[in-house]
Assembly symmetry: C2
Homo-oligomer: 253 residues x 2
């Protein structure tokens, strides 16, 4: 039975995509069967794995809106045991199309049903908003991974995000929990980073991952090569941190 994690935070650019792609690769290399689901119309997780989103004939859009079984949109990546449900810009219109549909919040959960037994981990990359795409991910997930940039503005939206998670738990998915808060882009050049970490740790004492992801330029370069960090720069500080995070997640099961 697979664990389904959604990486969510409506604050933009906090490392949601980088986290899903990076830990996905390390989990797959540790013999776990992993499925990445890209439900962001920007399709950054798709392109971070070297897949041309404009060349795709089918994507998550066809499953969420058209009801096509996910087995038909699923694709292999260069890494063994790491499969992907790609996204395309066509998904941008999905939120408005979903509004009028029956059981609109459960479309992803229903689509994922038949696949759950084939994977150990299903990781869902969310767009930077709390609209129906993210709600679909939260309704389908067992737990949420919340990347938080070690900067002031990133803390601001946390209360709103936790409120939305609670609403989903009460109304759509009673078993939804928080896997952990992941501190990202920790920059040693500013004391603000440590202040943010301390503040988040004090508010959520046992919910913050031990692993902290440093700001590391190799992580911002990897997507331009279409490779996860473990393939692009395996000895970088960014790679080491995400490998440690993958291990922390596996040890917690």
């Amino acid at each position: 039975m697979s664990r389904v994690y959604a990486t969510a935070n409506q604050k933009g650019g906090v490392g949601k995509t980088t986290t899903v792609v990076s830990i996905g690769a390390y989990l797959a290399s540790a013999e776990r069967r992993v499925l990445l689901v890209d439900i962001d119309p920007q399709a950054n997780a798709t392109s971070s794995l070297g897949i041309d989103k404009h060349g795709l004939r089918r994507s998550i859009y066809d499953s969420l809106i058209g009801g096509l079984p996910l087995q038909r949109t699923l694709m292999l990546t260069k890494r063994l045991r790491l499969d992907l449900i790609p996204s395309t810009p066509a998904l941008a219109g999905a939120e408005i199309e979903l509004v009028g549909m029956m059981a609109r919040e459960y479309r992803l959960k229903q689509a994922l049903g038949p696949l759950r037994d084939r994977y150990d981990y299903i990781l869902i990359d969310c767009p930077p908003s709390l609209g129906l795409l993210t709600i679909n991910a939260l309704a389908a997930a067992d737990e949420v991974i919340i990347p938080i940039q070690c900067e002031y503005l990133s803390m601001e939206g946390l209360a709103q995000l936790l409120h939305t998670i609670e609403l989903v738990r009460v109304n759509l998915n009673p078993r939804l929990g928080i896997k952990g808060l992941l501190m990202t882009m920790y920059d040693v050049r500013t004391t603000l980073a440590q202040q943010v970490v301390d503040e988040v740790r004090s508010h959520f004492p046992d919910k913050v991952f031990q692993t902290i992801i440093p700001r590391n330029v190799r992580l911002s370069e990897a997507p331009s090569y279409g490779e996860p960090i473990m393939d692009y720069a395996p000895r970088s500080a960014g790679a080491a941190a995400y490998q440690e995070l993958a291990r922390e997640i596996m040890n917690s099961e």
Copy 2:
């Protein structure tokens, strides 16, 4: 008659809020009358100016959804000639509420009408999505400022954004143009930054601002003090770049 600029890019964390707040302050200090409009439910522009979004009785939500005149939601900031229409988390539900409204794309444009003569510049900070809130901003704007982080993933969504701008121009706002593409968070430690700048310049030869904003840790610290960069760290590289940008914008009028 005022110039209305929207800073838009569905890619998250590229510097939309930082740009609006930073140039807003420099334009106000150069004797221009400036109005900032925060239509992001995260309300980052509001808090970057030291305003507690949870303490507000009225916000852009009341004008967009409730029809309250903007004169009633408008507030002064610590800086002379820099006024703000604040946002609050209540705005998160606005996109779904707007879907069923008459002339839903024009609510902001209609609300801004009576204020246009009172300001030289109206700057609108958009959320990281291409939903009805951003569409409202594009329908109300004269031109769009597009911040682009000097990283690979930030270039990815550009085609989609330009397509949306074109749709708005054809269907909602025939005079909508592009003020400029602003390269942000330029990190001298990676060759990728220059490659992104060169690539964007080659695709849009006369649309990229001369001014490039460097990655500068003072810019990420300023919001935690509730101050624009010109007040928090006026001699920093970040402040100098945004001052130069404000000058470039004023010289182009």
